[in-house]
């Protein structure tokens, strides 16, 4: 039992500490003369690296004290290595931040044994969204999402990087529409998948929005590809709605309703929504480590808010990030919550399906 005086004393200490945090919260953290490491758990040159390198100089300008922001690539283990290192080593002083992507979120959601990080520990300060478009070869005879069921029974081939990559979404979507597709793995990226589509080696494909707009849309215009649906976008309430970048394409939930005559629900849908959010609306997120004081979190949130609301930001960002929302503060937290909270039942549903259909071992 703790003596009463000691208890009082420790309560007093806690009070003082509390007062101190409040005091410093008023004064924003200052990073003058510091060097901030933005850890990217991927190789140089990839999408996440590009994203971080785009933001780094802007963040440097927006943070108080204009610290140097450098990108530090820690690739390996399908991005789990860098995230594990961050979880283990980063100090809550705001000098190390982590930029994750869908490929970091998916192993976490799937319960991959290499994962030793927990998103619940981390504080999100930025979430960058993207979308995805699914398209098919015109020879399949499907003109739009309305006759998507015509794909049933045809020999569909899809070039994939792996069943547990972002390709999980197209594969799961087709499964939920009862359309059989043969996934051919070993593609080195979505670009390789698109090349296989152009060669006619595969007949269905999907690209993230930027890739679609820049490289697949020309194919659509030449009549060599027909877009059927986008995956969708997340609105303020956390519901999946039509992707505003592709107003003419139905979202996956709409297509599901067309095919099955009812709105999607159940374990499959719960799983789809969590994985979709982790892969697209929350595709790239910036985190501060566990236990970071509120003032530092606020400083970062403010800095990112300043970056993304700058008048020339949209124009600068278009090339690298597309026209998708860059959310900060409460909205970013909302995206993170939808993305990382998957029920045990939904998780098991996906794991069982991956094991059964693609021989993935957990």
């Amino acid at each position: 039992m703790v003596p009463k005086t000691l208890k009082k004393f420790s309560m007093m200490l806690a009070g003082v500490a509390g007062a101190m945090t409040i005091a410093s919260a008023i004064e924003a953290a200052d990073f003058s003369g510091q060097r901030i490491e933005w850890i990217v758990p991927f190789k140089e040159g990839g999408g996440s690296d590009r994203w971080a390198r785009f933001y780094a100089p802007l963040l440097s300008e927006a943070l108080p004290g204009n610290p140097v922001v450098v990108v530090k690539n820690v690739p390996g283990g399908g991005s789990t290595k860098g995230a594990n290192q961050f979880a283990m080593r980063a100090k809550p002083d705001g000098l190390q931040i982590l930029g994750t992507s869908g490929s970091t979120q998916f192993p976490y959601l799937l319960g991959d044994k290499r994962v030793r990080y927990d998103y619940k520990d981390w504080n999100v300060v930025l979430a960058s969204a993207t979308g995805g478009v699914f398209y098919v070869n015109p020879e399949l005879g499907v003109k739009s999402a309305k006759d998507i069921t015509k794909l049933r029974g045809q020999s569909l081939k899809y070039g994939s990087q792996g069943a547990t990559s972002l390709d999980l979404i197209p594969l799961l979507s087709l499964k939920m529409l009862d359309i059989d597709v043969k996934a051919i793995f070993g593609m080195k990226g979505r670009g390789a998948g698109r090349l296989a589509f152009e060669r006619g080696e595969v007949n269905v494909d999907y690209q993230t929005s930027t890739g679609y707009l820049k490289k697949s849309l020309p194919l659509v215009e030449e009549g060599k590809a027909i877009p059927l649906m986008s995956w969708g976008a997340l609105n303020e309430n956390g519901d999946v709605v039509r992707d505003p970048t592709f107003p003419d394409l139905p979202s996956f939930p709409e297509v599901y309703e067309m095919v099955h005559g009812k709105k999607p629900s159940g374990e499959a849908w719960d799983a789809w929504k969590a994985f979709f959010t982790a892969g697209f609306p929350g595709q790239k997120m910036v985190f501060l480590p566990k236990g970071t004081p509120q003032d530092i979190i606020d400083t970062y949130t403010e800095a990112f808010k300043k970056v993304v609301t700058a008048p020339d930001f949209a124009q600068k960002a278009e090339m690298t990030l597309g026209t998708y929302p860059q959310s900060t503060g409460a909205q970013a937290t909302k995206v993170k919550d939808v993305a990382i909270n998957v029920s045990k039942a939904a998780q098991n549903y996906v794991r069982d399906w991956l094991t059964e259909a693609y021989n993935v071992k957990f």
């Binding site: 490491e37 190789k43 140089e44 040159g45 990839g46 690296d49 590009r50 390198r53 785009f54 780094a56 100089p57 450098v70 990108v71 530090k72 690539n73 820690v74 690739p75 390996g76 283990g77 789990t80 290595k81 290499r114 081939k157 070039g159 792996g162 069943a163 547990t164 043969k182 051919i184 793995f185 070993g186 080195k188 990226g189 670009g191 390789a192 698109r194 090349l195 296989a196 152009e198 060669r199 080696e201 595969v202 820049k214 490289k215 020309p218 090339m319 690298t320 693609y358 021989n359 993935v360 071992k361």
Partner: protein, 659 residues
Amino acid sequence: MLEAMMTALATVASGTHLLYLVGGVLLGLAVGIFPGLGGIVGLSLCLPFLYGMDPISALAMLVGLVAVIPTSDTFTSVLMGIPGSSASQATVLDGFPLAKKGHAARALGAAFTASLFGGLFGAIVLTVFVLIARPVILAFGSAELFMLAVLGLSMVGVLAGNSLTKGLSACGIGLLLGSIGGAPATGEFRMSMDVPYLMDGLKLVIVGLGIFAIPEIIDLARQNRAISKSASLGSGWLDGAKDMIRHKWLCVRCAIAGCLVGALPGLGGSVVDWIAYGHAVQSSKDKSQYGKGDIRGVLAPESANNAKEGGGLIPTLLFGIPGSGSMAVFIGGMILIGMEPGPALVGAELNITYTIVWSLALANVVGAGLCLFLSPAVARLTTIPYSYLAPFMITIICFAAFQATRDLNDLLALLGVSLLGIGMKRFGWPRPAFLIGFVLSGTAETYLYQSVQFYDWGFLTRPGVLIIGALIVLSLWVSMRKKPENPVEHEEEEISHATNLKPQAIFAGVVVLFFAFGLLDATSQSFLGGVFSGSVSAVMLAFSSIVFYKLATNKVDDPVNYDHEHVGDHVGMEDVQSISHYLFWFVSFIAGIALVGFLPALFVFMTTYLRTKAKASWVRIAILVACTLGGLTALAHIMVLDFPRGYLQYLIELPWPIG
């Protein structure tokens, strides 16, 4: 099109463009000289500066940098036997023996003129090819890429050395080591024993360093002399240039191969130099000097690897699909300055494409010129006593290996591969055959699997496949036809054969066990996940067993018998330490890193080595060690990296850079 060319020409010739180009070239040369750094690091170093720069100048800098890395990485390949990057591994085979004979300047001269030629040739081809590239690239599907991988593997025949069974087994070790990690078809982890590091597979840079560099270092350290046998550097770089002109057709063929392989997305740049080297060997009448210092062995890979960068631009620019790691960063740089690769680059933006292509040519001229200018001075490195050079080279190699994934495990992997490399060197298992197997393992498996999925086995009747198939037959026929060579040389080797075959037999036994392990592991995978590694293991189990049987039953006269300990340069020299003596130094260094971290271990290692082996004075040691540690720390700060941590750092927190 003509208009686009004129616009591009005007841009390329403008002052600011040239200025930035030269800036990029200088940075590229500086980075390329460090083994293991190469294009990726160079490009990521200049990415922060690109932002906000005028796009054309930024592009000039990027191109300048990419173009010269395969030029400057030749320095360490030739002078030290350390592959400067994965694109110049084959250069080591003959470049380094030439340096050892005292012909470093000539080898460098030949290498740089060949690089220059390859780079220019690549640019000329590109100027035309870019217009028709799209359909050509689309015609090369997975089936054709698979056949190209087989064509590469067929080079093993000419690189196998005296014993074909041994050569094939060596290639098999490469294939099997290359298949460690996630299976392309299913993502199952093969032979990884639940070690996360192995799940990602072994990295080529580590394999190259362990197989070639470390065994050479140990060999030279034992002889304790300068790299160059003669104190004078002999013939100069002009002779090298003359060599290039003498063998111009070989360079043309290799440059074409380099361009083509570079242009096909999916094969990867590291195959090019091996294909070129294999081609040089197979097309030569007298093969006896290959591996011992044949200038053609330097010319072929060097003309190919510079042409490759030009070819590699095609899929990068047209499809946005990077042909190599450095091209991936190049795309990143382009997007940051507001240019998007895509079909427009052969349409409305053709002038940008030509600007890039010709900047590439210009950068090659500037880069090769600078390197030629520097080479007589740099070649002097080969006259330094080896006891001074060795600790630096070990440091450079460890630093390079550590760039692979920036993990302590990189160094452990380096140690493991080095043991294999030392064994292969000592017992005459052809290391080029091994490396071809390793480089092509993933490519061959992925594309075979994909072709069967896309076309069924009918892919074998596709016209492209048949054409490449005919090339393979031709290539095999050419190399078989010229097989019997230099009988005198053959005789000599036979006489020097070892009589105690036990060490060789033990090594062969380990190889047999490795294949058995591969087979066992394959049986625990699904069919698609294990079929490749399983088949390779099964076939190679047979070949390696033959080798083992012959050695175990003491077949002294068989060509499988080879022991460097009986024929090497050091035989008969006084005071030669055993291999294990220097291996002990290396192992202690790595163990030291695991214990106290990289920099502290390096400090102890260098100090002791310089004191005991080079007998250097304390002042000199202090200066050398301080410069090395300071230089590395500065480099690490710029590149934003932490050095490998040891157990000490795990226990207590230490400040960067030792923590």
